[in-house]
Amino acid sequence: MTISMSTPDFLIERDRDRCIKCQVCVRQCANEAHFWDEEEQKVKANDALCVDCHRCVTYCPTHALTIRKYPLEFRENANWTASTIKAIYRQAETGGILLTGMGNDRPYPIFWDHLLLNASQVTNPSIDPLREPMELKTFLGRKPDQLKVEDGRLVEEIPPQLELEVPIMFSAMSYGSISLNAIKSLAAAAERVGIMYNTGEGGLHKDLYKYGKNTIVQVASGRFGVHPEYLQAGAAIEIKIGQGAKPGIGGHLPGEKVGLEVSQTRMIPEGTDAISPAPHHDIYSIEDLSQLIYSLKEATQYQKPVSVKIAAVHNIAAIASGIARAGADIIAIDGFRGGTGAAPLRTRDNVGIPIELALAAVDSRLREEGIRNQVSLVVGGSIRNSADVVKAIALGADAVYIATAALISLGCHLCQKCNTGKCNWGIATQNPQLVKRLNPEIGAERAANLIMAWEHEIKELLGGMGINAVESLRGNRLMLRGVGLSDRELNILGVLPAGE
């Protein structure tokens, strides 16, 4: 095959009146899309290599660069779109599975955008969060069925809880899938704003133990980097069953990314592929899951809440009920738009269900069964802004997980090439040349700023509704109204249509 039928996705435009030939773009593009032509003394570009990550655009000191969609059109066809055709060319050339990074980018309905929030008018006063106290503190974990008080004191101990200043956490991203500098940024930001970050299945690097009280340590099917100190190191433990971007499949970290430090942290030989099996081979039922939950509790003297993370799939309500009964303290549900460092394209784009529907279904089911207090619900899978957070809490979530938004705060431009290991922003890469581009001090400040900004906005929205504690919004679906939704969808979401 001497001719490739693949054509560029993007076009690099350089304004020659502005280009000063500094070659900053040449040095910044790890895809080597820009190059210096010594003979002509000009910077030139190879469009086919560009992935539209905007690194060169942001760094070009004269703003000489623009990246456009490549203008080449196929004959218009609503069925056979350019991306569909190009995918076939690629597979015809390689014979392989199509891989991608980040979350589902297909135009499925986004239910958050069909839900509207309430505000107070006349009959009840709204609250100004700048003048009056507003409580966002959140405790995650099993709540007792009833509180027994004698002589003004609690008689029974409250099960272990995770304490959050804001009902937002950074969700699982492993060392290996993202760089150590990216994790350091998130860990330090979590410490600063009083929330949690999550190790993912990559183990805990030695430099990160100091962030223990803001860490959720994950135990996934590969059991990478899991040992007693690791389990003790965090504030909570999370069993990862599934991930929204690729429900039903395990993880795969290619050997090239397993350098010395990743290998030490994961406890696997350098240069070997880190393959997490699709299922946990010791969990084939809810009873098996219960055994692992209690083994982990036993290993940590019942001092830490145990979370179970699952992908949102068809039978989610029944599965969640089983997990609650198996003894989990927190259930984390990841919707079908959740991000990933690498996933098969067809799985990412076609498997799972929207988090909004999954959350509503699970919250309703647990309430009906009278076991809602036994678990906290954390949802993730494309929470894009503070309004999504508020809507999720009104639908029944105790807190949300964010990962894509957190990475965007560090500089991610959603080019979806995390799987290539050439992340120009120093995030989804282990290449030392690229990793050092992300200064963890700057990263921590940016990620912390994001959470603080959302915190202010959440308070504004709550105040507008006349609510002064996030606790009063939790599961308060009367604060939501649906627009442009079918009766059935409204029914599942448990919200009234706007106007009713």
Binding site: D17, C22, V24, P61, T62, K436, R437, E441, I442
Partner: protein
């Protein structure tokens, strides 16, 4: 005295410090495009990014306490200011003999042959005042301007 310290562990080697240094010391200090496209000779940066991937760091004159270049200078053009501590080259007196280049232990002096042949080196942006432009423009905070000895 305040000096510029490089943080090698987070320098990405973009060389934006070089670009902005060159502009600040050109005929068009406020117009980056004109500095490079209109000025007859290519503007010269007085900071130099040393690279051996993945290591890179920006280097400029250390403004040594006991600066060898000031001693070697045959015309007295290279002087250390007793008040500010800045080692500066008086280009009206410099004859371009490059003796200073030979003795600088850091290789921080460059030849400027664009006009009157002179030695070109970092002046800590003393003429601009405030924080040197390389520090101001480093996108990753990999340059620090401080009077404490910088330690990681």
């Amino acid at each position: 005295m305040k000096r510029v310290y490089a943080r090698e562990e987070i320098c990405g080697g973009c060389k934006l410090c070089e670009v902005h240094c060159a502009v600040a010391h050109s005929q068009y200090p406020n117009d980056i495009i004109k500095a490079f496209l209109k000025q007859k000779t290519k503007p010269i940066a007085r900071i130099l990014v040393e690279e051996g991937r993945p290591i890179s760091f920006a280097l400029q004159c250390r403004h040594c306490e006991d600066a060898p270049c000031t001693k070697a200078c045959i015309t007295g053009a290279m002087q250390k200011d007793p008040v500010t501590g800045i080692v500066a080259n008086d280009e009206t007196r410099c004859v371009g003999c490059w003796t200073c280049i030979l003795v600088c232990p850091f290789g921080a002096i460059k030849r400027d042959e664009s006009g009157h042949k002179v030695a070109s080196k970092c002046d800590l942006c003393a003429t601009v005042g405030g924080t040197p432009v390389c520090v101001q423009n480093c996108p990753n905070d990999a340059l620090v301007f401080t009077d404490e000895l910088w330690r990681r």
